[in-house]
Symmetry: C3
Subunit: 432 residues, 3 copies
């Protein structure tokens, strides 16, 4: 596998997602998690400021319970509608009382004479929102290309079987994604957590992880992205395989361990320097236990503790992630940072908000990253040049799972375990 450096232009191409950029156009062909349902819990609740793909918006739920997301700023004189009143099926600008519905239509300009047509002409930008799996999803692309609703397995799982959280990450989306598909760092960065975190511990798989520090990558294209296969030596002439799923552009599913839930992430760009790291757990064929839910709520596994009232991690750049040198020295934590999620985030943020990919030294264990970059680049160009729909936006391509299993060394995972990678509601996950 070639080891290639990105040029500056290529790094820009992959990392910029604002309006009018190629990768921004690509992102605008998918449904993305926008908000937790808990953020807009009931009719006429407080509206929420929402920035995604470098666009500033306001999301709200109207008196009839309908969801809407519109331009943050009033068409009249540019005031933020966040200060507005959410009332009687619309949000009313606090300045002069202009009112908008969930679709951004101006429905009233109180100061205008009866015969005025001004209100009919005024329409704020708006995007469709839909609620599914505890998440409010947004589609920010051209209406004529709107894909079917997302059918990622976690999004269809019943509430008792899933747990979802989000946190602010102070980096570009791409370096978060690249962490998510990088199976080889687990033994190092998270090594101490595998056997202590209640959502990871006690799996036979962990032993294989530690038993072979030279994993071999086998990365295969899937309909919607990549199957990133990683094998480690196991007993009896077998390999221990862990298959991570990546679906374009920013969805990753980590292989489960034992009877633990499956974990995954969406890495949704806020702007070029920040992303929302969405983290979920779901179990395909049983309810989550109270103990699991409590652990997740307390920031175990891939979740975090927050600064109260925010989705900003308590451990963050401004406090050096509460680095504990004594714990690092004592070997309780490899990097001194507590918790799997912030171990990843701290290192990704330490690269700078946009990693300079013209200065890397990639190895064969970075194959997943390299192939993801290439596929993103190709999909971005195909969309730009030929208008070609990018992979991963159709429901069929979304019905996939991660898995972990043992196979005889002479078998190819993509054939022998093809079934394990297909999501079927209620079907047990394949895991060691």
């Amino acid at each position: 596998m070639e080891i290639s450096l990105l040029k500056k232009e290529q790094n820009d191409f992959l990392t910029q997602t604002g309006p009018g950029t190629p990768m921004g156009d690509l992102f605008r062909r998918y449904w993305h998690p926008a908000l937790l349902v808990e953020e807009l819990p009931e009719p006429d609740c407080p509206p929420v400021r929402l920035e995604l793909l470098s666009e500033k918006m306001l999301a709200f739920r109207d008196s009839s319970g309908r969801l809407g997301v519109i331009d943050e700023f009033c068409a009249h004189r540019g005031v933020s509608l966040w200060f507005g009143r959410n009332e009687e099926n619309g949000i009313r600008c606090p300045y002069h009382g202009w009112k908008y519905d969930v679709n951004g239509n101006c429905v009233e300009i109180p100061s205008e004479p009866e015969e005025s047509k001004l209100c009919d002409r005024i329409k704020l930008k708006s995007y469709p929102l839909v609620e599914r799996g505890g998440v409010i999803w947004i589609y920010m692309g051209p209406p004529e290309h709107q894909p079917e609703l997302p059918e990622y397995e976690f999004a269809l799982a019943p509430p008792e079987r899933r747990f979802i959280s989000k946190r602010l990450q102070e980096t570009n989306w791409l370096q978060a994604l690249e962490g998510g598909i990088d199976s080889s760092h687990v033994t190092w960065l998270h090594g101490k957590n595998l056997n202590s975190d209640p959502l990871f511990q006690g799996s036979k798989g962990n032993q294989y992880n530690f038993g072979d520090l030279k994993p071999v990558f086998e990365v295969v294209e899937s309909a919607g992205g990549l199957n990133i296969g990683v094998r480690r030596n196991a007993e009896d002439n077998q390999y221990y395989w862990r298959i991570t799923q990546w679906l374009l552009p920013a969805y990753t599913i980590i292989p489960p361990r034992g009877d633990h839930p499956i974990h995954g992430h969406f890495w949704v760009p806020i702007n070029d320097h920040q992303n929302w790291a969405w983290s979920f757990d779901y179990h395909p064929n049983r309810d989550l236990t109270d103990k699991e839910v409590q652990a997740m709520s307390e920031g175990k596994g891939i979740h975090v503790r927050y600064i109260p009232g925010t989705y900003i991690p308590l451990q963050n750049k401004s406090n050096d992630y509460l680095m504990d040198r004594a714990a690092q020295k004592a070997g309780i934590s490899f990097s001194g940072i507590d918790g799997i999620a912030m171990q990843d985030a701290s290192l990704q943020e330490s690269m700078g908000s946009i990693q300079d990919r013209t200065k890397e030294n990639l190895t064969s264990t970075d194959n997943g990253i390299l192939m993801a970059r290439r596929r993103l680049m190709n999909a971005g160009k195909a969309l730009l040049e030929k208008g070609q729909m990018p992979p991963g936006s159709s429901p069929e391509s979304q019905r996939v799972r991660s898995a972990a299993f043992l196979l005889p060394r002479d078998q190819k995972f993509q054939e022998a375990a093809a079934d394990a990678l297909i999501a079927v509601p209620g079907k047990p996950h394949v895991t060691v």
Copy 2:
């Protein structure tokens, strides 16, 4: 009335006031409020850093009680004179003891030999200051064009009849001004305050405000700016008129209510992204009551509460203005922000520090704003191209008042109520 959008260049023209800009030149033809007298209370008190029109200065009161404002930085090696000693009729640089008088003249360089002429050559930039009406005024323009002292009515009112405050606003001056001459937002944004604020409540006028939500604007040029007339329907075939005064460049007077004082503002640019919002109340023919003064001190009416030791509002951008969604929901406050002044400031700051005026949708109730922009633009050009003195700098043009009254529907306010708009010391205000 045409509905016109500004071009980027026009927005820059109107909003930039640094040295050498056209609007900066225009501002430099007027006296402006610089400091409260309480900021320089006595001889040899601590000097004060003062930035206005993007110039950094130091103001002080010398041993003889004389006021001075000079360049903030020592001519020698650029140290801030804020650290200097205010002593024996001059401010002495703390670094090497260079000393300057209130006019910026260097009066001593201790290290120089007796025969040295260096001190005579050194002169810091300085501007005239004058004390009037509790305010220290500054004139930053060409000495040969210095206008007569300001005769705005509040500045001539006796201390017992006036109350003055200032607060930092994190926007360009123009969007503060445009809020000040925008009579139509009152019923919405401040609607809940009209009947509860001790400095606004209990006036018959408030009922007219609420009784007609489609005010009609009639804006007429005055010698110094505009009379912005707004009429609402009233009983007996009458109109309820409210006339706001605007004097170039940045002085506005709000119409009074009942026996309440008259309110007004100066919006003085600090730099292109901040302004000092000066707020005053005065009653033309009676002393303010203790209750009124206390209410003003506590941030009622158009005044605010401060972060102690500063003129920065306690409610500000960094804390979302202490937005109270419950109060908003309960209808106690329309935008959830407490207090009239911060209701305005919060929305104006939400537009960004310089509003993008290329993206508005103005209506007929924005006529005051449109005509003010045009008059500013014309005055700026006339000064730039023909050296023409801009309107509003002569004492005669400053002797105006706001007023509110009822008139038969067939009468023009500018004739029928011309007298009400003229300031005469001790004459009662015309108000409903």
Copy 3:
């Protein structure tokens, strides 16, 4: 002496020290203080982030006690090695376990196959470090031009005779240096401290300082920089001389007072907007007393109090240096700032992070500054154009001292007191 203003390009030339700049190249021909030994106290202690000359590095002490400073970021994918584990003679990246030794050599890439040569190819930038006089010194220049180890007198003094501290200064290095060689501000800015600070008081020299406020400068080139002689009138037809040493590029030694220790500074650029102000005291022929050491620890003399856990002064720009106007008014402090070090730093920071030297008015007491600028400029050009080694990097040129003494008025200090300016271990200092 000519009074000349710098052009913008000249100011840039002197102030910019990043990689590839002429002054940056010059700085890279010397050993500089990088860290206090207390910052890397023992084998495998926590590594320290270190930015110097606009380069971001990581310093650490390995299991064998060896010091190393390497690029802060891992060669693999750019993670900060600050999060790494310092263990078994190397620092291990927390992400994938890549390991580096003190010389920046990659010594292990755990995921690579046995036969891989990748590790051999990977080398992080590194620089030599050396411990001497309580300080860890760094040489960041071309290896073939590495000078002999520094022999500044304080660095060779036994621990009992020296005290060293450092503090962050929020300015370019040059304005810190220019403060350090400016003998004429002492009577003003520090006037109140000379007789009260335990590390300055009680010297006859102080009386001469106050007795003549028109010091005369006589600045003479030395092998490594300048002897900045300043004379003041004294009794019996004598002059009181104070000779400050400056060695290129950023080392200054203040003349001592009475039996007090000699003081000095290094002003080491962090980047173009910050520098480390290194401050030391040493006595050439006796141990420091407990009282002296305690005073230094408490921020007396040229030292400061810190924000706990940092080298950031407790008095700093964000709190207006805890300016005390009452103390200023009462004459306890000339500028109202407590302590000699922060008196200097506050004023230097008040000039802006890079002083605009195109706007000065220099006098004859600024001769030291003018000559230092010229010598720096010439040395920078000679290095750039002819590859000429700059002055002050050889041990001989470093064996100098400051001194203070009385001389008959007709004697030249550089001849009559030449001996006093030469550092000889154990030889008493010449001081009044």
